[in-house]
């Protein structure tokens, strides 16, 4: 197990290096620079030229790249041209937000999706099955931002059940330790802060969960159907075991293997969704920030982000594999 971990982490290095090169060449193709993004309509040629010089953007690419690499090794991602703050700080404030959002979304998807998929499979062809399947299909087909807008319009603006934007109520000055609002609340004992953060998370999380939910429902359904046909389920039945045991130990335990992988692979799509939901609920997460960074040609942020995300991705897949090897003994051997 440890060797797996190490191997993966080592694999990460060349990936990241290659990525960073590609990235740099790529970014260099972006027209325009941060200068006029900073100055707005007041920009004049001379100004722009001077700022670019100040930012060292007038030097050739390889020089910039080398500088960048040097800094990377000092674990310094540089400074955002938009906010004039270290990229680390910007990430520190925003990544937790998005992670929190994604986790809640995934939880919703799992807690709702797996039972739904299971029932659908058990009652194949029944109304519940049709409902679950068509529901999940529609879930995929509604543009996330549209869903988010509607949820917000109804539950935040009309019914005022949930806040319409942000991560925390105004003046709810929660002490910030980890950046995970909910967690912080629990750590510092400011429970109201936790709840408030939760409260802010729910609507965006629901919007964000639409696609993962759909995926999980269909994955679960498919693989439960498959497992139900397996001999060992028949064996279990032949032993006259309780429905509960058959379902839990023999059907689900096997059926969930592929679902685990699916969840792992969802991270990418989650972030895409986050870009949209965050902008609808002006939720101060990384997705929205990166989008504006692309517009503002905020090179340091983009580079930092992509390296970061690649790392996250690899790590998540690693976790998935570990989880996998925990539930599936066959994997442990080889």
């Amino acid at each position: 197990m440890l060797r797996l971990v190490v191997r993966r982490l080592l694999q990460l290095i060349p990936t990241l290096l290659g990525l960073s090169v590609l990235l740099f060449l790529w970014l260099n193709r972006l027209p325009g620079g941060p200068a006029s993004a900073i100055l707005g309509e007041r920009a004049t040629e001379a100004e722009v030229a001077r700022i670019n010089r100040a930012l060292g953007l007038d030097q050739p690419v390889y020089v910039q790249y080398w500088r960048f690499l040097k800094r990377i090794f000092e674990l310094d991602l540089g400074t955002s041209t938009q906010t004039g703050q270290p990229v680390w700080d910007e990430f520190a404030t925003r990544f937790p937000a998005t992670v929190e959002l994604s986790i809640v979304a995934i939880l919703i998807a799992i807690v709702v999706g797996i039972p739904m998929g299971y029932l659908a499979a058990k009652r194949r062809g029944g109304w519940l099955d049709v409902g679950a399947v068509s529901g999940s299909l529609i879930g995929i087909c509604i543009p996330v931002f549209f869903l988010a807008l509607i949820l917000k319009g109804i539950f935040a603006v009309q019914l005022q059940m949930f806040p319409s934007y942000g991560r925390l109520d105004t003046g709810m000055d929660a002490t910030d330790i980890t950046g995970f609002a909910v967690l912080d609340g629990l750590l510092t004992g400011e429970l109201d802060a936790s709840l408030d953060a939760m409260h802010h998370l729910i609507l965006p999380a629901i919007a964000l969960s639409s696609i993962p939910l759909a995926v999980i429902v269909r994955m679960t359904r498919a693989s439960v159907l498959e497992v139900l046909g397996e001999d060992y389920v028949r064996t279990a039945e032949s032993k006259g075991l309780d429905k509960r045991v058959v379902r839990g130990r023999h059907v689900l335990r096997n059926a969930l293997l592929p679902v685990v992988t699916a969840v792992g692979l969802l991270t990418g799509s989650l972030l895409s969704g986050a870009v949209l939901t965050e902008s609808v609920f002006s939720f101060n997460g990384i997705g929205n920030f990166i989008r504006t960074s692309i517009d503002a040609r905020d090179y340091p942020v983009l580079v930092g982000f992509i390296l970061f995300i690649a790392m996250v991705y690899v790590l998540i897949n690693l976790l998935v594999d570990l989880a996998y090897s925990l539930i599936d003994p066959r994997v442990r051997v080889h």
Binding site: A43, G56, T81, Q160, S164, G166, G171, V280, S282
Partner: protein, 556 residues
Amino acid sequence: MRIFKSGAVRAITAAVAVGLIATGCASERGKDGDKGGDKDTFVFAGAGDPGSLDPALASDGETFRVTRQAFEALLEHESGGSKLVGGLAEKWSSDPAGKVWTFNLRKGVKFHDGEAFNAAAVCANYDHWFNWKGTYQSSAVSYYWQTIMGGFAKNEDKEAPKPNYKSCTAKDENTAVIEVNEPSANLPGGFSLQALAIHSPKALKEYAKQDATAKGDAITYPKYSQEAGTVAGTGPYKITKWNKGNKEVTLERFDDYWGEKAKVKNLVFRTIDTEAGRRQALQAGDIDGYDLVAPADVKTLEKEGYEVPTRDVFNIFYVGMTQSKNPALKKLEVRQAISHAIDREGIVKTQLPEGGKAATQFMPDTVAGFSDKVKTYPFDTNKAKELLKKAGEEKLKIEFCYPTEVTRPYMPAPQDMFERMKADLEKAGITVVPKAMKWAPDYLDATEAGSCALHMLGWTGDFNDGYNFIGTWFAGPDKQWGFDDKKVFDSVNAASKVTDPAGRVEAYKKANETIMEYVPGVPISASPPAIAFAKNVNPPKVSPLTQENFAEVSFK
């Protein structure tokens, strides 16, 4: 959930369930708290985060809106107007040459950190800025200082403007004298800018210790400007907290304020980047007011009983022409034809909030120097056709750029405005090639580099002086316009040299007339930016310069 018994997931289910219920209750509490009559926190939503808590380092409205509540400049504009009045200086005067400016300072003013305000403090500020080094000299950081006062004591960049600031001397406790090398149209208006607001000398010493660094690829703002605590001004509020994660700046009433104290104890600025988002937050009762209201929402909100005052117009929206890009534009008839072809009134009627005005020249009628004798180009498609014919350009094909992902006070809905004008031009037989670009940086780069034959831009005035408008475009050759016309440039520059106010206004009028004879572009409209407040709020006097003073705000 009965069908689901696997331990872990049961736990999760429970957790989420609890979470939902609990938060439900939490929300109840929250809402009740808000509805309580004795409300002591006013929440206002802007469209973007402030860049820094030190206005001297900023050039954007979002920053100034926040700092303006905590910092005051020597001069201010009358509440709700654009007339220059005393700020920290009760009276001011200049010598005939407009080179020596004398300020009689207000007495008994205290800074938030307890320091006393006096002439020495004023000079400390001006000298602090004048002696800026390194990255501070980048125009990204010290844009306004450089526009008003030119360069620095030691310019590190040969292309930086040469310093116009000469000295500041404290004649006595309450008299400060600021000298400049050349008279400038930017004075005295410049003294009113937030960027030149007065900080506590104690704070300045702190500032000086920290440097803005340009590390390789970006400008890092100094620490003091990124967190509350160090910065200290004289305003009715003092900045107490900046929670970046929550996009929330908190200010607290300053009880030793020299003037009328703020009515609401806590003032909070938050960021909601979309128009719809801000409106919905207001409707949902999450905020008490917001700026940059979409015209479409003004009526809606008014109907629903919200306070939606609109400001006087103090901006101009125009269609720029880049003659170097499309030679046809060099012909006067073509420029006139385009001016005739566009239905300004239509845009005003359907796109701008009430109070919007069709423009006749490159400044709104609220600016001193506005002339009612300029040549006008009323909407007349046939006339346009004739002119094109006369110019031999019946088959004119022209590229028209417009920005996306942006709204500006002067152009609330760029794309819609563009589509209308496109339709107009096509009626007049001009083939329009549309080109959409992201506002920043693509569009701004393109227009500023003169690569868009036709484009839409605008300007919001910093202070009431004509040069602040026409000066920015027509003081000399500029890639954006791509023409070189001595008559136009001279008229503008001449005006800026006139030192006596009345005479200068007249000169601006002349300049406007000359410009509109030449029609370098088509002034379209001036749009009054609306600002919205909750039903239970007594709004502040709204200012054409968007310089609202939130100390005036109170709850009904």
